[in-house]
């Protein structure tokens, strides 16, 4: 009998206080963003790890323009034979996602035939295609960077915000147009390798060791760390919390000022990124450099520098050895097939793109909208720059066109901030999945990025009857055994709580979590697979990592002593934290 997790606690007509959508404000391709209804229980919904704090009203534009427009559009264009992309439902401020299936076998067959024509040329020309897309994204980025918002009229700010949203929307069209074919190819290759009898734990290695924009940033952070050590700044970093470091260094003057100048130069290149994926509510490092300074602070605690060149060389060597070992087990015919798949996956390298695209899209693409919203807030006399982020699109269009005074929305904004906080508190205890747990999921994004593989699904079914858990099992993503105190983090901005040698336990990681891998003993994720961010970075940094554990963040408590076996996929709770259990 199918496992059903009720949706009742989330059923509501209202998105946020004072907003019932009329579905006229944002187009969708197949299915719109909605709140939960009882009939949604028939489908399978997973709590999206991308926004652990929840989304503000303006942030929900991502759901409208990302999942419900861009992913659905891409799934139709490619097309994805059995699916129409991703849709979502709101649990308060939080997003539950689900695949939109195609059920008619005749239509699936037709879509599969269309895919046979569309997929190969895309993969073969990936370099050129992605290059052009990146250029388009960069060109618009330069445009928005070049606009002096302080000189624009309110009406022009409104126009700028509309442009920024269009840019954001277009960027996610690109995002999904690339992600689906790359993932379909990769997951096909992965499965074929498994069928050829190759060790699944080795397959991710075949594509590792290629440099990305995100790794470039991490390297620069470590260079700054080394420079801080040389300049004798360790004391200043150690004595202050991350948010106080800048003031302390400025006051110190001398080498500290020189270092700060260098740090600011770094920010001008690498600082246009937020501390989470595609969320308008998040500041960039330019706006608030605390996360970057916090990284450097923890890197300094580690005492030694991370040798990127050595780690990269080791990753490349491991890659080549893994490929050689795999090929030696295959017949000539199988080698031809394997070589073809590997060449295709290298020419259109999903793991590489998965890291690289974050720099160009996910981590910065919300910023132009954020700047415009802040400028409008300033212009209409809102009390706080973020106030406009608590307006819905129609509302901010009205306010910026002068049709509706902001003053009339002030109370509503306050009420919505409380609503946001309420749901932020509630997040850690929210069910990871709701609805009917299916036999299998066949959208490659849901399988690989969200880890909704059969292992995860069975874990979700099994956990209902269990009390305290000693051993959890997931996908072995990065080899080795690591042991330490568990830090259960729900948010990248909690990363400062991690001390060197501890074990990171989280729903999932994204690029802003990467620097933590230089200091942790192991990593455990609720979701993911062999190619999710944590798996890739875990291998690059040699950190034992297990993904798709299912409910690690609920079953492991902060402070527990755990052992993570990244080769077998087992996570064992050696000692419970006892009365010091901190769940929230």
């Amino acid at each position: 009998m199918a496992t059903v997790i009720p949706v009742d606690e989330f059923i509501s007509d209202e998105w946020y206080p004072g907003f019932k959508p009329g579905y006229t404000h944002a187009p969708w391709y197949v299915d719109p963003v909605q709140t939960f209804r009882k009939e949604d229980e028939e489908n399978f919904w997973f709590l999206d790890f991308h926004w652990p704090r929840g989304l503000t009203p303006m942030g929900l534009i991502w759901n409208e323009d990302g999942y419900n427009w861009a992913s659905q559009l891409a799934a139709e264009q490619m097309p994805l034979p059995p699916g129409r992309g991703i849709t979502c439902r709101l649990g308060g401020t939080h997003t539950y996602g689900s695949a939109l299936p195609v059920n008619d076998p005749r239509e699936i067959g037709q879509r599969a035939r269309r895919l046979e024509h569309s997929l190969p040329p895309f993969l073969q020309n990936f370099d050129t295609i992605w290059g052009q897309m990146r250029e388009e994204v960069n060109e618009s980025w330069d445009y928005f960077r070049g606009v002096d918002l302080s000189k624009l009229s309110l009406e022009d700010l409104r126009e700028n915000l509309i442009q920024a949203r269009q840019y954001h929307k277009r960027a996610f069209e690109i995002h999904f147009q690339v992600m689906y074919p790359l993932l379909a190819n990769y997951v096909g290759f992965y499965s074929m390798c498994t069928e050829l009898g190759l060790d699944p734990g080795q397959i991710g290695k075949f594509l590792q060791g290629y440099d990305t924009k995100i790794m470039e940033t991490d390297r620069e952070l470590w260079r700054l760390t080394a420079a801080a050590r040389t300049a004798g700044l360790e004391q200043a970093f150690a004595a202050h919390e991350a948010d106080g470091v800048r003031a302390a260094l400025a006051a110190q003057g001398g080498p500290a000022s020189t270092w700060l100048t260098r740090f600011d130069d770094f920010l001008q290149i690498y600082g246009w990124r937020t501390e989470g994926s595609c969320d308008i509510a998040l500041p960039s490092w330019i706006e608030d450099a605390t996360p970057a300074l916090g990284m450097i602070k923890t890197f300094l605690q580690k005492g030694t520098d991370h040798d990127f060149a050595a780690a990269r060389a080791a990753a490349v060597e491991e890659r080549e050895a893994a490929v050689d070992a795999a090929r030696s087990k295959l017949t000539l015919d199988e080698q031809r097939l394997f070589d073809g798949g590997l060449a295709s996956c290298r020419a259109a390298n999903f793991p590489w793109w998965q890291d690289d695209h974050n720099y160009y899209i996910d981590l910065r693409i919300s910023l132009p909208m954020r700047w415009a919203c802040h400028a409008i807030a300033d212009r209409v006399g809102a009390g706080h720059p973020d106030d406009t982020l608590y307006l819905f699109w129609e509302e901010i269009m009205d306010v910026s066109s002068g049709r509706r005074p902001f003053a009339g929305l002030r109370d509503l904004v306050e009420e919505r901030k409380q609503y946001f906080d309420y749901w932020l508190q509630r997040r850690p205890s929210m069910p990871k999945v709701v609805g009917t747990v299916p036999e299998s999921v066949n959208d490659p994004i849901l399988i690989e990025i969200f880890g909704l593989n059969s292992h995860f699904l069975r874990a979700v079914e099994a956990v209902g009857s269990e009390g305290t858990v000693k051993t959890l099992t997931g996908v072995p993503a990065s080899k080795g055994i690591g042991r330490g105190i568990a830090r259960v983090l729900h948010n990248a901005d909690e990363l400062h709580r991690l001390s060197p040698g501890e074990v990171l336990v989280c729903e999932s990681t994204s690029p802003n979590w990467t620097p933590a891998f230089a200091k942790i003993a192991a990593c455990v994720c609720d979701g993911g697979g062999t190619l999710s961010h944590a798996a890739i970075v875990g291998r690059e940094y040699g950190v034992p990592t297990v993904t798709a554990v299912g409910l690690a963040t609920l079953l492991i408590s902060d402070g527990d002593e755990v052992e993570v076996d990244g080769s077998s996929g087992h996570v064992t709770v050696l000692k419970h934290a006892g009365n010091g259990r901190t769940k929230d």
């Binding site: 034979p81 059995p82 190819n185 096909g188 087990k329 199988e334 097939l337 073809g340 295709s344």
Partner: protein
């Protein structure tokens, strides 16, 4: 008049199956495949027919089996089979036939430069491996039979096994006439086996034809063939002979020649050999050469039983003791794609449509 004795290296290959029955006929045919075969002869179908006629078995056996219908119960079959076998074993072989067999055995011993050479005496019925009926494992075989009297006795036992209960029941179910299945018997030198095993020129599980799968253990092949031991498992690329996988198994039982009894029997594997790898790369290559040659000859995937002689030197072939085409595995295998097709792979593995 056709001969009662046919030598493996002398019988015309195109007549071999008719004269020597399925198993020995196939072995003799393999001369054309150019593989190394054991020395030996067959007590032919003609010899069996002569004995049958001289001893009046047609009536006696017919009477024993009369009244068995297709719906006969197992107890009924059991009793009738026992009666038929008693008729066979109680009738003396003619002195002439016994003399011919004894003489052939002396000749085999001398060809092997041995006295009372140990032999394998194997049933080789006509039609036993035909496309429509498989009597695999139903008829008797004796390993390590030494001396003319024991060989004669083993030949009579093989004849009698034609009427064991399983064979009778099988023919009844298949609607075959008991008299339409004459039995030849092979007498071949027992190769002094260092190691033996089976080899498939298609993967027995996946049916893929691009690899050769070898299963092997120390000593004679009975323990491997009968599944009494977990053998070492080797996979080799057919196109280039590269060893793709070698899994050393814990081999706990060995088929071993017991000199006191004069038979091959199963005993516990000596501890030092249990976990030891059986075949080295050169020996694997020799097995692969033999399998390829047999497959080339039949033009189908094949199943080969082979023995590695204790005195074999590097570069010499392994000895093939049995081979047959395998036609069923291929049907199950889906054709292996020859080049990467991303849409087909995604459809097969991701979308599962």
């Amino acid at each position: 008049m056709p001969d009662a004795i046919a030598w493996v290296d002398a019988i015309a290959p195109e007549q071999a199956v008719g004269v020597c029955g399925a198993k020995m006929g196939r072995l003799a045919e393999l001369r054309r495949a150019g593989v190394s075969l054991p020395k030996g002869f067959t007590v032919t179908v003609e010899a069996y027919r002569r004995h049958w006629a001289q001893a009046g078995l047609s009536e006696a056996v017919g009477a024993a089996l009369a009244g068995l219908g297709p719906a006969a119960g197992s107890a009924e079959i059991e009793a009738a089979a026992r009666a038929a076998q008693a008729e066979l074993t109680s009738r003396e072989m003619s002195a002439e036939l016994a003399g011919l067999i004894g003489e052939a055995y002396e000749e085999l011993s001398s060809r092997c430069f041995d006295i009372n050479v140990p032999t394998a005496v194997r049933s080789s019925a006509v039609g036993e491996d035909s496309g429509t009926a498989s009597f695999a494992g139903i008829f008797d075989s004796y390993l390590g039979v030494s001396g003319p009297d024991r060989v004669l006795e083993a030949v009579r036992q093989c004849w009698a096994s034609l009427f064991n209960a399983r064979a009778v029941a099988y023919r009844l179910r298949s609607g075959l006439d008991h008299r339409d299945m004459p039995m030849a018997v092979g007498v071949i030198e027992l190769i002094n086996a260092r190691a033996s095993g089976v080899a498939f020129s298609a993967h027995p599980v996946t049916g893929k034809t691009d690899r050769i799968v070898i299963e092997t253990s120390w000593g004679w092949g009975e323990a491997v063939v009968q599944g009494l031991v977990t053998p070492d498992h080797v996979e080799v690329g057919k196109a280039d002979g590269r060893i793709l996988d070698y899994q050393v198994a814990a081999k706990k039982v060995v088929s071993n020649f017991d000199y006191a009894v004069g038979r091959v029997i199963e005993t516990a594997m000596p501890a030092r050999l249990v976990d030891r790898r059986v075949l080295d790369d050169e020996q694997i290559a020799a097995v692969v050469d033999a399998v390829r040659a047999v497959e080339r000859y039949y033009g189908y995937p094949v199943d080969v039983e082979w023995v590695l002689d204790r005195h074999r030197r590097e570069g010499e072939p392994v000895c093939v003791v049995q081979a047959r085409p395998v036609t069923v595995v291929n049907a199950a295998a889906e054709p292996t794609p020859t080049e990467w097709n991303p849409a087909a792979m995604a459809t097969k593995y991701v979308f599962k449509t």
